[in-house]
Symmetry: C2
Subunit: 361 residues, 2 copies
Amino acid sequence: MKEIDPWDVKEVKDYDQLMKSLGVDSFSQYTKKLKNAPIEIRRGLVLGHKDFSKIQESISKKKKFAILTGLMPSGAFHFGHMSVINQVIYYQKLGAEIYLLSADLEAQLVRNIDEQKARKIALEEYLLNYLALGLKKKNLHFYFQLNGPRKFKEYQNLSKLASAKTTFNEVKAIYGDITPQKLISALTQTADILYPQLEGIKTTLTPVGFDQLPHGNFSRDLASRMKFSLPCFTFHKLIPGLQGPTTKMSSSKPESYISFDDSEKEVENKIRKYAFSGGGATLAEHKKHGGNPEIDVSFLWLKYLFEDNDKKLNEIYNNYKSGSLLTGELKEILIEKVNSFLKEHRKKREKAKKELNSIIS
Amino acid sequence: MKEIDPWDVKEVKDYDQLMKSLGVDSFSQYTKKLKNAPIEIRRGLVLGHKDFSKIQESISKKKKFAILTGLMPSGAFHFGHMSVINQVIYYQKLGAEIYLLSADLEAQLVRNIDEQKARKIALEEYLLNYLALGLKKKNLHFYFQLNGPRKFKEYQNLSKLASAKTTFNEVKAIYGDITPQKLISALTQTADILYPQLEGIKTTLTPVGFDQLPHGNFSRDLASRMKFSLPCFTFHKLIPGLQGPTTKMSSSKPESYISFDDSEKEVENKIRKYAFSGGGATLAEHKKHGGNPEIDVSFLWLKYLFEDNDKKLNEIYNNYKSGSLLTGELKEILIEKVNSFLKEHRKKREKAKKELNSIIS
């Protein structure tokens, strides 16, 4: 299980096998049921879940439910972070209360980022972009772990009292190597996940990448032992890094991602230079045998991030597979999409600045 | 070092050797310097210290200092608990700010005592008796760990951020076996010990039994790594339980202690029946060879708790050693002392009830 150490995300190669072995249910039945879902859900990036039927029921019966999600205030906000927030925004539109926290305690403990720097990153890199992407102030409960949510005392005690409900053997079995600060982070994250229940909302969903599965299991086990409702989870594949379909975007490797602050020129350069191609080895070979879109990062980014139109995506898929669309041409399609997205986004971000001030003041 | 596991106090047989091996300095130079000190200090129950010179300086130069002490809200308040509070009251008279906490988080984590029960024990068993013994409301800062002190946020974050400054290997070396809840307790206790510094009082003293030495060392190491001032400690021997000079008073064994709620009859019975005697094996032998006051629990209780008058204590010592004072007679002296103390104390406790209400409301 080292593969899914949540503190050192490695690519996960076989999600089906992983899901089966870890007791995660397939999300496919919900992919169609969810109306007007964002691209991440429609295109199957969200692959697995635990107890999503409770969320489905809350949506269809218009009962109260909450989304609990955290941001890690370290490094730039990039497209690897977009899957979660797009889902959050979607559920907010469906009526969910949104609990959003900046994991500044964890950032300080595990990544050595101090409170002030974490605050700046959380607000200027994350929250501002979230607002620009469509997150609304209404029904949004934002907090810093170090400041705590509204019921700070209950939250803190929950994170500490949870320690009586686990053992080091269990923690080691879930996380592999463990240190005191990782234990504190894990217990605090569990308190974050259960926190909406302290405000009376028993049905909660936390959309996460598969790398967060151990955290999810841990928080569900602790919830059960502390007589809380079991929190629900969805699990999505990570959007690949530029270097290949099984690599990840890493904040410490700027060549692996495109950030929301990258210039048009940087976008061009990064995609042209780094985006892993599934095309033929030579132009002649590509024209003869075609390319493999399934492993082509440019195609995967279009599929999971930028090309919302199914018909257009299919066309690209078929043309690339047949060889009539060349790698360079595919990359130009992606560059155009990314840059027009970012151009629009920069405008929205300017508008969001006022809203940001009203949230934190 | 298993001998001083703070969660399972065993008798410590050789304090001199223990002090040397653990880098604790002898307190003897201060025993005489401290004017009007309580019996615990005058008679050498307080044997060792770390950095007491800072406290001595604060006292003599009338600089601000704080006492930080905790009570464990489990079981009855008995005479084994009196050494600490008598010292605290003494330092309060000398001008110290008193930070007193009820370790209700630890009680819940490690002893499975819920918040409400712990609250009742803390107030009715401990705080009420403390007030009756002479603790004053002025300069007293009382809090429950679960409610936290005034600066609750800083306190909680301190206890969590401290986790980054230690390792499991270190924690294991200090505490032996360790569980998640013991780690949380230890980190929270460190936050308690450092808390007065968050309110600006850099010089602090925590008087503890030798069994708390690992906690003391741990908090000093963490303090140093987190750029806090090193907290000072004094270490006292534990007052023996009735069963013998190297046994302890244990809340779970009523025959080992006398509680502040025991009736006159119970006091008589417990001392007559259980108090370990250092007397001769037979009356004839005792009269011939005398008894050994050093291992006689009745004598030790008179020495460390009830006979304030040095001359009288010496007389008892000599008469017992020579054999002219019999075991039964020695026990009656103790019974009379305990019962007259408790009679007086019960009156004081009635008066203290009003004061208690004004502290907690």
